[in-house]
């Protein structure tokens, strides 16, 4: 595209020459979707490790009852920042990174539609990360009222909360620009002949996710803006002293917050929908129903927000409505799960690492979905609200759902990015290590929650000691598994396996991304391919 300023004049049409700028300023000036995709992924991994260290701080404190590792104030800051950093810093940028790398390759486009805006949407993220991490070191410490930023705590908190609010603004702007870019790329830059219903599922899920993002991120930006003006400019949106209502914040927040859950889950569904057909050597079962199921999940996600608020005193009619609407989401979700199972049915399955992670995803995400269904029941939720059962539930869908499929994507597309295969044995060790450690960490939290252990509290009753100790051991094992993961990735980048990746390293893979060499040249599809 004309908007790639660097050495465009040298680069007319020869892919093999693979010119790219070599100066260190490239990381600031690049508008290349592959560069930016890689930077998103490195950023995401850095934030994943930061958020992971916070999580290990929490688990170290909870290893035994009593207060020993961190002070309660710091504990609250750790739980708050762990949530925000993992959601906005780790998971969302990881999938935006995959979208940047893979969407132009999958659609036969030369780059993203707005290449310079792409650079900007990435470079907004590091300042946000600095604000978040830096807030630990200001007077009063980081925001400590939970990642949901509920007033009155968020209205009363110290300057760490202001840093958090600005970080959310910046990350929201970044996501909105990224989404506008993705929507325009998907709608306008598809190769000739690629109709909407011929698009890869990953493109479909990202298209729908991007619409969710531009519909909900501005609402979150509005909510935190109201917090900011309540804090500093005398408005009383949420301040009861001036006639405001703290519960109002929850309504506005969850209008964003519930679609956000699917913003995280849908691209993961897209990745899984690419990988399972590849390793089952069968086309995706029920492609059209997958598209419609994804769209229905997205639409339903806007009308169920108050199931996060059953204990705020909703009228019974409201509780009933939100309960049934929430249960309805299980239908399109189950449709997707059964389509994946049907794709594998009688397929000629092989269990390479990406497929293992997808199977792990399928099993654990379904379990997280079931506990979600349990929590959708109002009378049950009132018992389990803010207990470790909820923590277990959303880690099953976020970690086993989004994170496992992100690992699957790295193993699946990594050879295309780096030109080298990863070491299969190490990948499998990473999978089994993560799977076991994950379950050791989070499965006992179901028991703790059912027994009544509240979340976000640094100390607990003696009766909860055993399962907390097990959970903490699992958490540290899971953390070390991810150090092992980055070792595998660095060995893949440096070609330690000694096996060069073919243009199409997976024999069952389909799609335009496998028609370009591995590693993908710096500029691809300058002449659009024709899809029949």
């Amino acid at each position: 595209m004309a908007s790639i300023p660097n050495d465009h004049s040298h680069d007319h049409g020869h892919d093999h020459h693979d010119h790219h700028p070599t100066s260190w300023t490239r990381i600031f000036t690049t508008t290349n979707h592959k560069d930016i995709g890689s930077m998103y992924m490195w950023f995401s991994f850095a934030m994943f490790i930061s958020g992971g260290i916070m999580a290990l701080g929490i688990r170290a404190e909870l290893f035994t009852p009593g207060l020993q590792v961190v002070r309660p104030e710091l504990f609250n800051q750790l739980t708050t920042l762990h949530g925000i950093v993992m959601i906005f810093g780790a998971i969302m940028p990881a999938f935006v990174g995959f979208a940047n790398w893979m969407l132009p390759l999958q659609l036969g486009a030369p780059d993203m539609a707005f290449a310079r805006m792409n650079n900007w949407s990435f470079w907004l993220l590091p300042p946000a990360a600095i604000l978040l991490i830096g807030s630990f070191f200001v007077p009063g410490g980081a925001a400590a009222g939970g990642w949901t930023l509920y007033p009155p705590l968020s209205v009363q908190a110290g300057m760490g909360m202001d840093m958090m609010i600005f970080a959310v603004h910046i990350m929201g702007a970044s996501s909105i620009m990224g989404s506008i870019n993705i929507i325009t790329t998907i709608l306008n830059l598809r190769a000739p002949g690629m109709t909407m219903m011929k698009m890869p599922m990953f493109a479909w899920t990202w298209l729908i996710t991007a619409f969710l993002l531009i519909a909900t991120m501005p609402v979150l930006a509005g909510a935190v803006t109201m917090l900011l003006t309540d804090r500093h400019f005398g408005t009383t949106f949420f301040n009861a002293a001036g006639g405001g209502d703290p519960v109002m914040f929850q309504h506005i927040f969850w209008f964003f917050g519930h679609p956000e859950v699917y913003i995280i889950a849908l691209p993961a569904f897209g990745v899984v929908s690419q990988i399972i057909p590849t390793f089952s050597r069968k086309p995706l079962f029920g492609y059209a129903s997958m598209v419609y199921a994804t769209a229905s999940i997205a639409i339903l996600s806007f009308i169920v927000w108050a199931h996060h608020m059953y204990t705020t005193g909703l009228p019974a009619a409201g509780q009933l409505y939100f309960m049934y609407a929430t249960m309805l989401i299980a239908v399109p979700t189950a449709c997707k799960i059964f389509n994946w199972l049907a794709t594998m049915w009688r397929g000629s399955i092989s269990l390479e690492t990406p497929m293992l992670f997808c199977l792990g995803f399928l099993f654990l995400f379904t379990m997280g979905g079931f506990t979600g269904l349990v929590l959708s029941l109002t009378p049950v939720d009132i018992q389990l609200h803010d207990t470790y059962y909820v923590v277990a539930h959303f880690h099953y869908v976020m970690v086993a759902g989004a994170l496992f499929s992100a690992f699957a994507a790295v193993y699946y597309w990594g050879p295309k990015w780096t030109g080298w295969m990863y070491e299969e044995k190490l990948g499998k060790i990473h999978f089994w290590w993560s799977l076991i450690a994950f379950n050791v960490t989070f499965f006992p939290q179901h028991f703790l929650g059912l027994a009544g252990m509240p979340r976000r509290i640094p100390d607990y009753n003696l009766q909860f000691e055993n399962w907390n100790a097990v959970s903490s051991v699992g958490a540290f094992a899971f953390g070390f598994a991810q150090i092992f993961f980055i070792v595998i990735v660095i060995r893949m980048i440096t070609g330690k396996s000694g096996i060069r990746a073919a243009a199409k390293p997976w024999d069952g893979a389909e799609g335009l991304e496998w028609t370009v060499p591995s590693p993908a040249p710096y500029h691809t599809f300058e002449t659009p391919p024709v899809v029949k």
């Binding site: 009363q156 506008i180 929507i183 325009t184 306008n188 830059l189 531009i214 501005p218 002293a241 519960v247």
Partner: protein, 202 residues
Amino acid sequence: MSIFENKTMLKKLIVFTAIMFAFGFALVPIYRKICEVTGVNDLLRPDQVKNTQIDKSRTIKVEFDANTRHLPWDFKPEVTALNVHPGELTTVVYEVSNKTARDMTGQAIPSYGPTQAAMHFKKLECFCFAKQDFAAGEKRLMPVVFLIDPELPKDVNTITLSYTFFEMPNGKPAPNTAPEGKLNMKQAALNAVPSANHTSVN
């Protein structure tokens, strides 16, 4: 595809984003309206009374508590506690005086202990239903007329009705700043206990 088409798409999506940002703020009046129409959480409306039969078999102790926040007014009930039967219409008078030398507007917000008593505590007349204007130095007696619903759970024998008066300058809510007195108290406490140097937020 031409750059032109991309720009058109960009404009449409930016407009959509701006509309959603405005929608976030529009949710505030929308929710208020929904609460008003459906009668959820409307603190300022007198309660409807269905059953006025007096249940002499029970006696409930009602305690009256009065506070002010950021407001240099005197605010106290004439009696601190009353024994009433469920269903019995009761009046209690509060004495309010503006101690400052300026005209002020305040509003009282009720709360109840235990919380489950709130839905059985029916106020027919209350100064908390409206903003109250007080001239400089003005003193007024203001009544609350209430009855307790006989369906009050059996295990509730004492109800605390607590009012807090907030200032609303020019009909607008007060800025959220801590009163000077409290800050000084906190500072004094910190000075008195040198080890209490933790930086808890508020």
